[in-house]
Point group: D2
């Protein structure tokens, strides 16, 4: 992706981090501020969807789901906004899912993590909004059109199901990006703290 | 406003209608289709905020609040989308308020109307979305910065309160327009059915 | 029903009213206060579920749905609590449905009415609660086990579907009554303003 | 409390457990089943309200809040219902708070934990309901009238504030118990999955 973006004329830095480790997150933020530029906008996107019946959900699985989707989000949100606050401006974005607002059967672990992340986003939005930091949470109520999602549909419903997918039934990554861009572009007298998007044909 | 927009190079038609009358709404929509062009987007914005204690709320007031904010919205939404459906495309937008999602003390009449309008928007979004009509409801959780709102603040809190209004504490009409534009511009694989906006310093 | 309850030892008065007429509702409340006793608890239950596509929903249907489920609820709530306020005590209950909290496709008219009634209940609860009037809204997310509902299942799914209904899949009227009784019985330091009930096997 | 209840004629067993440890929770449930009787109803109530600004919230605090209010709830819910499922009956109750449904400023850690617990309760309710296990979450939107809460009011507002507390402004523990009893007593054709209670004079 770095190559693709660079050859299209973009300037991209790809850095990796274990977002569950406080010191790694702190070091990453400091390095970005030092080597790349002020953190104008930060998007926290990590999380691993997992479905298990309650009695097959181990304590380890429950912890891991939370550590990645919720705890890491807290760390990243806290550390990125620490730098933003010094400048009195910035945008902090979080990715949510249907599981952020609904605890469905089989999703105790994933939903607990995503509900928790939504709470973090709300508390941050209320505390940091008046300090000119825009915090928003995007609920993506859809599969996103990636190779990985198409593979899963194929496994569940067969190759024909993938081939016959009606247009715009999955959400393109570009459309997700547009939604984040719209949130980032909002003037501060009209900020959304949460937005929900889904494809036009999705049941809800 | 027509003059202002026209002299800025815009092309504007201002037509008036009693949106609570089925035949007037039908005729307006037909006239627009005939004389102006296809209804690509329609925004229903009517409604009259009113606060009265329950036992001072007359049946007439309750009816009037509903007729303007809810019934008219149903009529306009139904008639505008009738034309959109023929072309298989269009955007129908509704204006909501805090009273759309919370029945506060003193707001039985206004909230009943605004809750009702939100129900209309949801039912339309679910029915018409799969037919490529984008229906969305914008919750404006703020005073909007108009002469009328400033006058009310003056009445309640004095002239100094208005003079000392911190920047961006009210929402500019332009910022509301941007929010509608963002909804209108969404690609159909990432539609929002509801969006909530408020100024950065607003308590919520 | 009067006979059934009387022969079981109850004391029952059945009075009829057009709940959409202010003067009839006022007269009924006054008559009850005069002839029966102080209105300790009042339950508003009217409403007529109707499903129509948006473009088959006439303005008359939209009005009728609202007049019965929302406007009448406002009138009854206002008039019953007028008497309760004189004594500084009482309970006002409203019946809601899934359509009170979700505007589904085909339910623009019914949902607009039920959303509106919920707004009335919320505004009344917030205004009258501190005056010792308990206002609560019960969301019944289920079919209720009446002859009429069984007849509709028969029409839609056949006689066998009714005969094979698993136990407790519909909600018995007695169970609804128990829920209202639970709300009525709450001590005033622990009032619910809304409660949602559904059968154990219901999807939600 | 054991003495108080025993001398009033009750039969009480008080056992302690670290609810954050899987093996301790499993052993407790097994011991109760063996020595006391079948677990007919289980109430998970742990959680520690804490308010800290975002940038004073350490990763340790965030983890501890989650471990106690959310992770332990998952463990207790999973282990108690394991025994209930063998008998095909039982009731699992969780205690929520305002922070379960709203992420307020200063409550990133506590809200993330309580939102997460609510997700656990919802997922359990949807999975186990059809298996005749009633799972419900009680949102207590109030201070509870305990010595500890009165002490905190005294610290914040002075001794007079405590002395002058209007009747029923705090919620008595008995009133909370009644709410749990009401949930436990619901027939299975009319189960609530969530109930919210507050004192009559509370703002909301």
């Amino acid at each position: 992706m770095v190559e693709e973006l660079t050859s299209a004329g973009g300037r991209v830095h790809a850095l990796s981090v274990d977002a569950r480790r406080e010191n790694e997150v702190q070091e990453l933020c400091e390095r970005v501020e030092r080597e790349v530029g002020p953190i104008e906008v930060c998007l926290f996107n990590a999380g691993s969807n997992v479905k298990k019946s309650l009695h097959e959900t181990s304590d380890k699985l429950f912890f891991k789901a939370w550590e990645l989707a919720c705890f890491a989000g807290f760390l990243v949100g806290r550390e990125a906004t620490r730098h933003m606050l010094k400048r009195g401006r910035g945008t902090m974005l979080f990715t949510g899912a249907t599981a952020s607002v609904r605890g469905s059967s089989g999703f105790a672990a994933f939903s607990a993590a995503k509900f928790g992340l939504r709470a973090v986003a709300q508390a941050m939005a209320r505390e940091l909004g008046p300090q000119n930091i825009h915090v928003a949470h995007l609920v993506i109520d859809s599969g996103v059109d990636t190779a990985w999602v198409r593979e899963r549909i194929k496994e569940r419903e067969g190759a024909e199901a993938v081939a016959n997918l009606a247009p715009d039934r999955l959400m393109r990554p570009e459309a997700v990006a547009e939604a984040y861009w719209a949130l980032y572009s909002q003037p501060r007298d009209a900020w959304s703290s949460e937005m929900e998007i889904r494809p036009f044909g999705e049941k809800w």
